[in-house]
C-alpha cells in the first residue's frame, strides 16, 4: 500500500517535468506549427481559470478572516461600568448593539456573560454587583430580540481582574461584562 503510493507520487513529480522538457524542445527545434497556437490558447485559459480560483480563494479567505475577526471582536469587546454601578452607559449600549447584530447573524451560538468588578468593594458585595452587571447586559440583549435561552450569566465578582493595577485606569478595565461564546 505504502509502496504503490510512493510510485504514484514519484510519477506525479516526474511526469510534468518530462512534459515541459518536451514542450521546450519542440519550441526550439520545430518553430511554428498548428499545435502550438492551440496549446497557447489552452494555456491561457488554464491560467485564467487558475487566477479566477486564486481570486475566489482569496475572497473566501478574506471573508473567513472577517468572520473570525467579528467573532474575535465579539469575545474581546467588553461592556464597561461606572464604579459601584450596573447601569449601562451609552458606550456600553453601543457595544451591546454590535453584540446583538452578531448574535442575529450567528443563530447557533450561545454566550456566557461574565460580570466583573474592581477590587475596591468587599468580596461578597462584588459577587452580587458583578451579577447585576451581567444581568443588565443580558436584559438589554433580550430587549433587542436575542433569545433568553442563548444567554447565560455568571458573576466572578473581583476574582478575575484583567488589569492587576491599583489605579483608576486598571479599575475601569476591570469593571466589566465579558462575553464568552459557549
Amino acid at each position: 500500500m505504502q509502496r504503490s503510493l510512493m510510485v504514484i507520487l514519484t510519477l506525479g513529480c516526474i511526469l510534468p517535468s518530462f512534459l515541459t522538457t518536451v514542450a521546450c524542445t519542440t519550441k526550439k527545434t520545430a518553430g511554428l506549427n498548428p499545435s502550438e497556437t492551440l496549446s497557447k490558447k489552452a494555456e491561457a485559459a488554464a491560467e485564467e481559470r487558475r487566477q479566477q480560483q486564486l481570486l475566489e480563494e482569496a475572497g473566501l479567505a478574506e471573508q473567513q478572516s472577517a468572520i473570525a475577526q467579528e467573532r474575535e471582536r465579539f469575545s474581546t469587546d467588553n461592556v464597561h461600568f461606572a464604579y459601584d454601578s450596573a447601569i449601562l452607559t451609552p458606550i456600553g449600549q453601543n457595544v451591546l448593539n454590535r453584540k446583538a447584530e452578531w448574535l442575529r447573524k450567528n443563530l447557533s451560538e450561545s454566550v456566557i456573560i461574565g460580570g466583573h468588578c474592581d477590587e475596591r468593594g468587599t468580596t461578597e458585595y462584588n459577587v452580587a454587583l458583578g451579577e447585576r452587571r451581567a444581568v443588565t447586559a443580558k436584559k438589554y440583549l433580550n430587549d433587542l430580540g436575542i433569545s433568553d435561552s442563548r444567554l447565560k450569566t455568571v458573576s466572578y465578582g473581583e476574582e478575575m481582574p484583567i488589569d492587576m493595577g491599583n489605579n483608576e485606569e486598571a479599575w475601569a478595565q476591570n469593571r466589566r461584562a465579558e462575553f464568552n461564546i459557549e
Binding site: D84, R120, G121, T122, T123, E124, Y125, V127, A128, L129, E131, R132, V135, T153, V154, S155, Y156, G157, E159
Partner: protein, 447 residues
C-alpha cells in the same frame, strides 16, 4: 479522630471526676461567690497576672522543657485575650522549683509585692515514659484564695490542649464568659489564582487546608455547634453554596440558577440564611441545613446579601442597596419590621452581629478604602476601629471580646486580630499567597 485523642478524651473523662473532687476538696473553704470582674474598658486597664514555670515533679531535668512550655503557652493564651498583663518572670521573688509554690507554702505577699493580682501555679509529672499529669491553680493574690484548680492526665503531646483548657477555666472564672481557646478560625487563602478554605487555631497556629477545590472558594461560615461549615465555591463554574460536615465532609450543594452566596447559620439551629439570585435578583432566604428553602426573608429589587443573625435568632442584619448604595439594614423575622442601620458613607457591607447582641461590626468604605467599624445594633454613631490599609471581613470571637479581620496594612492581604474596641491590633497568620475572609468558630467546649 485518631486513637491518641480518643485516648486523651477517655483519660480526661476519667480524670474529670477526680479533677472535680480534687477541686471540691481544695476549695471547700471558699464560698461560691460570683463576683466577676466588671470592667468598663477591660483592654485599657489590663489585669496583672503572674505565670511562673510549672514545677518539675520529676528529678529529670529533661522535663524542664515541658515546664517552661506549659508556662509559655499559658502566658501567650492569656495575653491573646487582651485582658491580661503578663508579668516578667525574671522579676518573680519565688523559685517555682523550690517547693514555695505548693498550695500550703504560697507567700502571697511575694506576689502582691510585684503587683500581681492573680497567680497561676502549675506542676507537671511525667510517668510511664510518654504520659504526663499536670495540675494548675489560679489564685487571687490580694484575697489570698484559690479561684480554681484542675488536674489533667494525658500524653506529653497533649500539654498544649491541657493548657488551653485551663486557660478557658481562668477566663471563665474571672469574666463569667467561656474562653475562646478551643475555638478555630476558618479563612480563605489565595495562591496562584485559586482560593481555598484553611482552618487554624484561635491564635493562628496549626493552619490546615480544609478544601481542595482548585477553584475560587469564598465566605466560610460556621454553624453555631461548630459541626458544619457553609461556603460559596466556583467548583462547578458558578457561585454555588456548599454545606459540609466539618469532620466527615459530607453535605449538600445548593446550585440554583444565578449566585448562591453569603451563608450565615441561625444560632442554635441546623438552618441558615443565604442570598440566592434564582428569582432574578439576589434575595435572602432561610434554608434548612440540607439545602431546602424554608422561606424568603427579603423582597426588594436589587442587591440583598450578607445576612448576619442576632444571637437570639430573631433578627438579621444584612446589606441592601434599596436606598441606592449598599447599606446595613436590620429585619425582624417574625414581625417583618425593617430598619436601616447605617447612614454615613457610600458603601457599608459585611455586617457581623456580636455574640453579646449589642453591636454589629462591618466594613465601611472611607476615602476609597474599607475600614472596620462597629455600630450599636440599635443604631447611632459608628466607631471606626482600623485606619491603616484596606480592612475587611470582621468576625467576632465567640466571647465577643476580639474581632478577626483581613488587612492590607503590610502589603498583601493577611489575617489580623484586635480587641473589640480596636486595641492590640496584630497579625495572626502569614501563609504564602494572600489570606482573607476570616470567620471565627463558636467556643467549642473542651474536647
Amino acid at each position: 479522630m485518631n486513637l491518641k485523642s480518643r485516648f486523651f478524651k477517655f483519660m480526661f473523662k476519667t480524670t474529670l471526676n477526680t479533677a472535680v473532687s480534687f477541686f471540691l476538696l481544695i476549695s471547700a473553704a471558699q464560698s461560691a461567690e460570683y463576683d466577676y470582674l466588671k470592667f468598663t474598658n477591660p483592654f485599657i486597664k489590663k489585669i496583672p497576672i503572674a505565670v511562673p514555670d510549672l514545677r518539675n515533679m520529676n528529678a529529670d531535668p529533661a522535663v524542664n522543657e515541658l515546664t517552661r512550655r506549659g508556662a509559655d503557652r499559658l502566658s501567650s493564651n492569656l495575653a491573646f485575650t487582651g485582658f491580661f498583663k503578663l508579668l516578667d518572670r525574671s522579676a518573680f521573688l519565688t523559685d517555682p522549683q523550690k517547693n514555695e509554690l505548693i498550695p500550703s507554702n504560697i507567700k502571697f505577699k511575694n506576689w502582691t509585692a510585684i503587683r500581681a493580682e492573680y497567680l497561676v501555679t502549675g506542676s507537671i509529672k511525667v510517668f510511664e515514659g510518654d504520659m504526663i499529669e499536670v495540675e494548675f491553680r489560679l489564685y487571687d493574690t490580694f484575697r489570698e484564695n484559690l479561684k480554681v484548680g484542675k488536674r489533667y492526665k494525658g500524653w506529653k503531646n497533649d500539654l498544649d490542649r491541657m493548657v488551653r483548657r485551663f486557660s478557658n477555666e481562668i477566663v471563665f472564672n474571672l469574666t463569667g464568659i467561656k474562653g475562646i481557646f478551643n475555638s478555630k478560625i476558618a479563612f480563605i487563602s489565595k495562591k496562584s489564582k485559586k482560593k481555598d478554605i484553611y482552618i487554624c487555631d484561635f491564635d493562628g497556629s496549626n493552619a490546615q487546608r480544609y478544601t481542595k477545590t482548585q477553584s475560587i472558594t469564598l465566605s466560610p461560615a460556621w454553624s453555631s455547634d461548630g459541626q458544619w461549615i457553609a461556603y460559596t465555591s466556583y467548583v462547578r463554574g458558578k457561585p454555588d453554596l456548599y454545606i459540609r460536615n466539618i469532620i466527615q465532609k459530607h453535605g449538600v450543594v445548593i446550585r440554583k440558577k444565578g449566585s448562591n452566596i453569603t451563608p450565615d447559620w441561625v444560632p442554635g439551629r441546623f438552618e441558615l440564611a443565604a442570598s440566592l439570585s434564582f428569582s432574578g435578583d439576589p434575595e435572602i432566604y432561610l434554608l434548612t441545613g440540607k439545602g431546602k428553602v424554608v422561606k424568603r426573608l427579603t423582597n426588594n429589587r436589587g442587591i440583598d446579601i450578607s445576612p448576619s443573625w442576632s444571637p437570639d435568632g430573631k433578627k438579621i442584619a444584612f446589606v441592601s442597596k434599596r436606598s441606592g448604595t449598599p447599606q446595613l439594614h436590620i429585619k425582624n423575622i417574625s414581625s417583618g419590621g425593617l430598619q436601616r442601620l447605617t447612614f454615613v458613607g457610600k458603601q457599608n457591607t459585611q455586617p457581623c452581629w456580636s455574640p453579646k447582641g449589642d453591636r454589629i461590626a462591618y466594613s465601611g468604605m472611607l476615602k476609597g478604602l474599607n475600614q472596620i467599624l462597629v455600630i450599636s445594633s440599635k443604631g447611632g454613631d459608628p466607631v471606626q476601629l482600623t485606619f491603616e490599609g484596606d480592612n475587611e471581613s470582621p468576625s467576632w470571637s465567640p466571647d465577643g471580646n476580639l474581632i478577626v479581620f483581613s488587612s492590607t496594612r503590610e502589603g498583601v492581604s493577611r489575617i489580623y486580630v484586635m480587641t473589640a474596641i480596636g486595641t492590640d491590633q496584630r497579625r495572626l497568620i502569614a501563609l504564602p499567597g494572600q489570606q482573607s475572609e476570616p470567620s471565627w468558630s463558636p467556643a467549642f467546649s473542651n474536647n
